[in-house]
């Protein structure tokens, strides 16, 4: 069976697994070309940035601009960053380097005043929502005896995020707005930053800007000439190195 055929089966998907729990991504191959967040992925030999010469200049600059490291925060305070960085890492499951600097990208967007053109009546502005979420997460962490959200274990952070997603947090800041809508505001911004990053595109095997070249292979099971096959098995060489074997 080729590695592609493994993915004909949907059993790796959370809805097909006990408790809708995701499989451990570290069982996936390590990225061999280019980068993905945490270097695991389905397309270990695919790097969309290798196609950048085929993109129009304006788009190329926009996409490559996202690779520049985030240096300092404009919108968030140091204290907010301390809370929100682990929050964003939990939401996007970014435990290890390399990480897409999600909070830094959110910061740039908020500092530039790029909002989405609407606000729920029962909500403060998106700016204020972010600040209240930061304070709220610390409030809930303190209820659990920690100094702040950043001081909780990874498991406790996941648990608080679960309660946030289900609208079950309360007290202090959480009582001043709709928690469901607050979840929507921060999630919308986090996922739109993460999935605008070319490393995330490598992980999911996305074709990228594709202008002016376009696509030529639209049919079932087809991929572009520069597309790469999916691979499920870990790369043997890096596995051996990882395990410290001779």
């Amino acid at each position: 069976m080729s590695s592609y055929d493994d993915f004909r089966n949907p059993n790796h998907l959370p809805n097909h697994r006990r408790g809708r729990a995701a499989a451990n991504p570290f069982d996936l191959p390590r990225q061999r070309r280019g980068k993905t967040p945490q270097m695991h992925g389905r397309y270990p030999d695919y790097d969309c940035l290798e196609q950048a010469d085929h993109w129009d200049e304006l788009t190329r600059k926009t996409v490559e601009g996202r690779l520049e490291p985030v240096t300092g925060y404009e919108f968030f305070s140091e204290e907010e960053v301390r809370t929100l960085e682990p929050f964003c890492d939990t939401i996007m499951a970014q435990g290890d380097e390399p990480k897409v600097p999600v909070l830094g990208m959110v910061d740039r967007k908020l500092a530039a005043g790029q909002l989405d053109g609407y606000r729920y009546e029962n909500m403060p502005s998106d700016y204020e929502t972010w600040r209240r979420v930061a304070r709220g997460l610390d409030h809930t962490a303190r209820e659990q005896g920690a100094e702040g959200f950043a001081d909780l274990s990874a498991g406790d952070q996941v648990e608080i995020c679960e309660r946030f997603g289900e609208g079950e947090l309360s007290g202090a800041e959480w009582d001043t707005m709709s928690i469901t809508n607050a979840w929507g505001v921060v999630m919308r911004m986090i996922i739109s930053q993460f999935y605008s990053h070319p490393w995330a595109w490598n992980e999911i095997g996305y074709g990228g800007p594709s202008y002016p070249r376009g696509y030529m292979r639209l049919g079932v099971g087809q991929r572009e000439p520069y597309g790469k096959p999916e691979a499920m098995e870990p790369d043997p060489v890096s596995e051996v190195r990882k395990k410290g074997l001779p």
Binding site: H12, L13, A21, A22, L58, V63, G117, E121, G214, Q222
Partner: protein
């Protein structure tokens, strides 16, 4: 191919299409574009009107309604200025082939939403700049059905329009030739053909067609506003899938390339970056022009008539903001109708997972459509229906879909890694007009010019909820029959219409059948906000057809220059 009727049909029958040059006789936009550059040529040579030069018509908004009206009337010699709040886009210079990078083509100014089922605005339904929201519309361009104009008589819900399908039919045909629309012969509503043949479809649409056949649902390819073949200087589609991010190719239609070039060639001034803040009234029943902000300065354009084309949120807002001593509740609002009956279509999407690679980001998102469930079927237990269409979310939209099913963290990453195996279909549910679904002013929230922003409150009725729930079942059945191994669902809305609806009396509407605001001789609304019902069709084609009809009705009424006599034109 069944013979297309009307003027277009005659042109086809004369054999022009055999030469590969199907196109309208009275709109040269396709030839006025540059084959090697995407920006509209001739902006620097565009005619300019002085603020104190009384133009025949000032139009607010350069979208589907405003641009079409301007193009038509300019050809009849009218002197016209379009004031557009956003920029005059040059796709080469301003747009990127990137999902997040498309942020600036949406209306991102603040608005407040509320109600039991609040409608998210911004990128989902609100445009900004010359071309309006058609710059980021998917490209589906179906007609309304004849029944849409009489839902009150036929089904006891919604409202009857003061005009009938037959009034719009010749304009549907014209606009379909101008965009132009590609698709298979259309068997639903008033059966008709399209000027361009259907596009090839992608993997996911093929699988959907297969599943639909199994469960007895008929689809057709199209109708999409992307020519399949030569159309003047517009390039062929390259199937890159970014229709919702602005077509950098100039393949997908928007007024920026279908009507503005011809309008400029006939002396229209499109004054971009000019945000209209109020309409000014003169003697009873007359407006005198518009105040607008440009380069940080308030200016006033004098006009013999004003047409508002700012769409369902900003048009009612402008009428309300223009309140004065004579019209204390806003223009046309003596009967408390402005902003009411604002509508959105239900637009849940269901995604299916397939064993093969499908790569739904390839090819234009609008591919195939079914209107089999469009009309009322008493067996379903609700009035009116829905249309089935394809959608091809780019990664961020796909992440929103995954999140809506409750996945984040590792689970979201897993579903996202599986992206290439998924395909998404959606519906447009005809949600009914309700008086309390309304645009008002948010008095506590000023925009950057100090004027209250719009507040849009929206709640569904039981009929609306039943329609949405039923349609999700059909999508599921189709995808499962196609072999889907996993299903993810997202609830959402699409499109905006209503808010300044057209009617027979001032007591239950804002404009008459000629788009004239009740109580005014020379104030018109010519955008999607005039629609009394919305059908299950994407509204762009109907908005353009309505503007085309209005232009025909107004066209002959213009008198020679001289404002006193001009005023009579609108009496």
């Amino acid at each position: 191919m069944r013979r297309a009727p009307g003027k277009l049909g005659r042109a086809i029958n004369r054999g022009r299409w055999l030469k590969g040059a199907v196109g309208p006789d009275d709109n040269d936009s396709r030839y006025l574009l540059d084959p090697h550059k995407r920006g509209v040529p001739g902006i620097e040579k565009m005619r300019r009107f002085a603020d104190d030069d009384e133009v025949d018509l000032a139009i607010v908004g350069a979208g589907a309604g405003g641009s079409t009206l301007a193009q038509r009337l300019a050809r009849r010699g009218w002197r016209i200025v379009i004031l557009e709040s956003g920029p005059f886009w040059d796709p080469d210079r301003d747009w990127v082939s990137d999902e997040a990078g498309a942020h600036k083509i949406y209306w991102n100014e603040p608005r407040v939403i509320s109600g039991e089922d609040p409608v998210e605005l911004g990128k989902n339904n609100s445009g900004h700049g010359v071309g309006g929201s058609m710059v980021h519309f998917a490209g589906f361009a179906p007609r309304f059905h004849p029944s849409d104009f009489r839902t009150r008589s036929l089904d006891g819900v919604g409202a009857d329009w003061p005009i009938a399908y037959e009034d719009l039919k010749p304009h549907y045909e014209k606009v379909e030739a101008e965009l132009p629309v590609s698709g298979q012969h259309w068997p639903w509503g008033d059966p008709h053909s399209y000027p361009y043949t259907a596009h090839p479809v992608s993997a996911g649409a093929e699988l959907t067609l297969k599943g639909a056949r199994e469960v007895g649902v008929e689809f057709r390819v199209g109708p999409v506003a992307i020519p399949n073949g030569a159309f003047g200087n517009r390039p062929h589609c390259i199937y890159r899938g970014f229709c919702l991010q602005g077509c950098k190719v100039n393949a997908k239609a928007s007024p920026l390339i279908t009507h503005v070039p011809d309008a400029l060639a006939h002396g229209v001034e499109v004054r971009a970056d000019s945000h209209v803040t109020r309409i000014t009234t003169g003697d009873a029943g007359k407006v005198t022009g518009v105040s607008y902000m440009k380069d940080g300065r308030e200016r006033f354009q004098k006009a013999a008539a004003v047409a508002v084309a700012g769409y369902s949120i900003e048009s009612p807002r402008l009428l309300l903001l223009s309140a004065d001593r004579r019209n204390p509740d806003g223009l046309g609002n003596a009967n408390d109708q402005v902003g009411r009956y604002a509508m959105v279509q239900g637009a849940p999407q269901v995604a299916g997972r397939f064993p093969e690679r499908v790569s739904m980001y390839k090819a234009p998102p609008p591919e195939i459509c079914s209107e089999q469930f469009y009309e009322t079927d008493p067996d379903r237990g609700f009035a009116r229906g829905f249309a089935l269409q394809t959608v091809g979310p780019q990664p961020i939209a796909w992440a929103e879909h995954v999140l809506a099913d409750g996945h984040w963290g590792l689970a979201m990453r897993e579903y996202m890694r599986d992206y290439n195996h998924w395909y998404t279909i959606g519906v447009l549910n005809e949600l009914l007009p309700h008086a309390e679904n309304r645009v008002t002013l948010a008095d506590d929230e000023p925009d950057r010019f100090g004027n209250p922003v719009a507040h849009f409150s929206y709640s569904q009725s039981q009929n609306d909820r039943d329609n949405i729930a039923w349609s999700k079942g059909v999508m599921r059945d189709i995808l499962e029959a196609a072999g889907a191994q996993d299903i993810l669902t997202i609830d959402r809305y699409a499109h905006l219409v209503g808010g300044c609806r057209m009617g027979r009396t001032p007591e239950d509407s804002v404009v008459d059948s000629d788009h004239r605001v009740w109580g005014f001789e020379n104030l018109f609304v010519t955008d999607g906000s005039v629609l009394p019902t919305q059908g299950s069709a994407n509204p762009a084609l109907t908005i353009m057809a309505l503007a085309s009809r209005l232009a025909e009705r107004l066209g002959d009424k213009r008198l020679q220059a001289g404002s006193a006599r001009k005023a009579c034109a609108f009496a």
